[in-house]
Amino acid sequence: MKVTLSIQRSDPERGGEARLENYDVEVKRTDRVLDALMYLTRNVDGTLGYRRSCAHGVCGSDAMRINGAERLACKTLFKDVVDRSGGTVTLEPLRHLPVQKDLMVDQSPFFEKFRSVKPYFVPKAEPTGKEFVQSQEERALFDEATKCINCAACYSACPILDKNPKFIGPAAIVQAARFVNDSRDKGLDERIDILDQPDGVWPCESHFECTRVCPRDIKITKLINLTKRQIKKARAADGRETAEGK
């Protein structure tokens, strides 16, 4: 079938307004949106800018807004976004990150926030030459959070970042939760002062937009709320107040 890809083009380096450019392509209903993009750059217009690598939804390169919603171009089939007669598919870059060119955004602010939550293992105990023992139940507690591929879809969808660009954002909290809930890690102790800040977990208002778009089906909002409760409990135990509402 025939579809029109309406792609937001811009090249801030060389100036000019962002504009939508239309490309007609012949596709199969089961083709990925990324397949059509690849076809275009290889055969029609080499100047189109976007990132991609794995082509099956595991590397996090090609999150973009497809018909207004954050998705991975490699995990979106045309049948998911147009009906049998074809139609138009709009591709725009992620929000809340500066556009570099066309569908490419500067992910550095996103990764800075990622780095800020100590996204690495801080073991409770010294290794003994074998594995740290962990029960299946303990392992299950943080399974969800290990799935994140840092695609930034949630970061783009989050309405809080519209009004507060300093909010660390959903993905960074997911990354923190990955370690906070790992029985082998020092967990919340190590990270509470980072998360319990005015721009840490508290700005989240549970709009669920992140959860809706996450291509790894992570229940992000639930994790954020769990983290809030854990912080409150830890602070209460110390007889301290949280930074909520500050």
Partner: protein, 576 residues
């Protein structure tokens, strides 16, 4: 711009990151990667990492080493295989101690599953050796190693695409890299350079590999005159998603999944009576193609792209969702199939390069005729050789951590004694001319038709089954495509974020490696491991128990050989 480091690591997958963690302990180290590190294809690995922990049942590194040698159809360097199997155990514990969230057994130790070709007591039956984190083992390894790099403040240059090596005789002095953001060419002077640029499955039409897996490291070293080892041994994984090549891990069969032909028959019973569906990949891929050619594929039309079914529905919903959740997700997304209910349509998919940059067990480039100073390789780009003619599942992830670590250590040691890298007056000239040339041909040819023909030729004529006439023709066609490539131009003339230039350079890499692969294959007149010829169906140890060393030059490919290290086990026929 010119930078100077003790060590430069090219590539931020499992191999590069592990080497960087080791080297950066004492040496001033930079990691250059064309992708953001977390986008590397190590993240796509699914099934597991092999190590004889013995958590489920008795196991030993010696059995693991033997399985590796036999699985590689005896083209494996045996001392290296022993190193691999012995250090695997420590490596897995080390990853766990760095936080890797392995799945767990009831007793809280690391979970292990069965995998193709891994046996107990030298082939008596399958063994639980693959340590896994559901079907996301590679994702967890990549994340864990990157997290450790963040923790240890390793220096990264993200989206720096290495385009050239600074080499003087047999000593490396650094690399040249193209910065995506600015289009600027940077010189990185270094006492030691490690290439860990990953695989190159994108030369084939159906592949499990990422679009970025274009073999830039091996290709640019080949262009610098360094021979590539055993390029004809390219592994086709038996179970790729029909038409797309996306991998369905062998772990599905490890958990009990079964391959069936159009008659519903479990055909592996006829090909590998003991190991059945868990025979090594080369054998299962051949079995599938043999069924297809006999008209027993699902369509029954005997065409090369016909397929068979992989059935896991009898495992039940709980096992599917717990043990292979991502596979279930891929099947639902791309096939509209729920593997807990229906079988999955599969076909062999180009998966893994056994061959590559020749190294010794410290990762040093070693061609058999010369050992290079300050030049290293590790991971899929390298050929140690621990995989010989056919890699066993779970052995690549082991290879990354074991030899990535060994290379990193050797580098740290080497740079302490090495003199400063030399000054190269015109270091960037060649790359500048090449890239400038692409931009001048603004109305030049598109890459599309060349990519398409290369992938089709390699898939159909240098695939699972091969013969002389087809391979000779493939060489001719690849040479034509290399000529056509000279007409390709970049429409994008900008400096910043010019991904088009890089895509063109990636195609150049794939064309060069396709030529080396086809030429090595056409030259080897026997069948061994993943290299199976209709016209020479048997293994020929008298003439061919040796590594191919292939060099590219203006007239084509020149072939030389290197001995196989056979110190431990005598070659035997390979039955499972």
């Amino acid at each position: 711009m010119v930078h100077e480091f003790d060590a430069v690591i090219v590539g931020a997958g499992g191999a590069g990151l592990y080497a960087a963690l080791e080297a950066s302990k004492t040496a001033k180290t930079a990691v250059l990667s064309k992708l953001y590190p977390q986008r590397s294809h190590t993240g796509a690995a699914q099934g597991g990492i092999g190590a004889a922990l013995g958590n489920v049942e008795e196991d030993s590194p010696e059995w693991h080493a033997f399985d590796t040698v036999k699985g590689g159809d005896y083209l494996v360097d045996q001392t290296a295989a022993k190193v691999l199997a012995e250090e695997a155990v420590r490596a897995v514990y080390d990853l766990e101690n760095r936080g890797l969230p392995f799945s767990r057994l009831e007793n809280g130790t690391i979970a292990q599953r069965r995998f193709g070709g891994h046996t107990h007591h030298f082939g008596e039956g399958p063994v639980h050796r693959s340590c896994y984190a559901a079907d996301r083992t590679g994702h967890m390894i990549l994340q864990t190693l990157y997290q450790q790099c963040v923790k240890n403040d390793v220096t990264f240059y993200d989206e720096f695409h290495v385009v050239d090596i600074l080499l003087e005789g047999t000593r490396a002095h650094g690399v040249v890299a193209f910065e995506l953001k600015t289009g600027e060419l940077h010189v990185f002077k270094a006492k030691a350079v490690l290439f860990a640029t990953g695989g190159f499955g994108r030369m084939f039409k159906i592949t499990s590999n990422a679009l970025a897996n274009t073999g830039d490291g091996p290709a640019l070293l080949a262009r610098a005159g360094i021979p590539m080892e055993d390029m004809e041994f390219y592994q086709f994984h038996p179970t790729g998603i029909l038409g797309m090549g996306i991998l369905i891990t062998e772990g599905v069969r490890g958990e009990g999944g079964i391959l069936k032909n159009r008659e519903g028959e479990r055909f592996m019973e006829r090909y590998a009576p003991t190991m059945l569906d868990l025979a090594p990949r080369d054998m299962v891929s051949r079995a599938i193609m043999t069924e297809v050619m006999a008209g027993k594929g699902m369509r029954g039309d005997r065409k090369i792209d016909d397929y068979v079914m992989l059935d896991a529905s009898h495992l039940g919903r709980e096992t599917v969702e717990k043990k292979i959740p991502d596979i279930a997700d891929f099947c639902r997304t791309y096939l509209d199939v729920d593997p807990a209910v229906d079988a999955m349509p599969v076909q062999p998919t180009a998966h893994y390069a056994m061959g590559g940059i020749p190294t010794d067990t410290h990762g040093r480039v070693d061609t058999g005729r010369a050992v290079y100073d300050g030049l290293y390789a590790a991971g899929e780009a390298a050929c140690v050789s621990v995989h010989g003619a056919n890699r066993l599942g779970t052995n690549s992830l082991v290879d990354l951590v074991v030899f990535g670590r060994r290379a990193g250590r050797h580098i740290a040691e080497y740079v302490r004694g090495a003199s400063a890298p030399r000054e190269f007056a015109n270091a960037t000239d060649a790359s500048r001319a090449k890239i400038g040339g692409l931009r001048e041909k603004k109305n030049g040819a598109h890459v599309g038709p060349i990519v398409q023909r290369m992938q089709e030729v390699m898939m159909t004529q240098v695939g699972v089954y091969r013969d002389q006439a087809e391979m000779d023709d493939a060489i001719k066609q690849i040479q034509e495509l290399r000529d056509e490539f000279k007409e390709v131009g970049a429409q994008d003339t900008g400096d910043g974020f010019n991904a088009e230039v890089l895509n063109i350079l990636e195609l150049e890499s794939l064309l060069d490696l396709s030529l080396l692969t086809a030429a090595g294959a056409a030259n080897r007149t026997e069948s061994r491991g993943a290299h199976s010829r209709r016209d020479f169906p048997d293994r020929d140890d008298d003439n061919w128990l040796k590594h191919t060393m292939a060099t590219i030059d203006d007239d084509g490919v020149v072939i030389d050989y290197k001995d196989v290290d056979l110190g431990i086990w005598e070659p035997k026929p390979r039955v499972y």
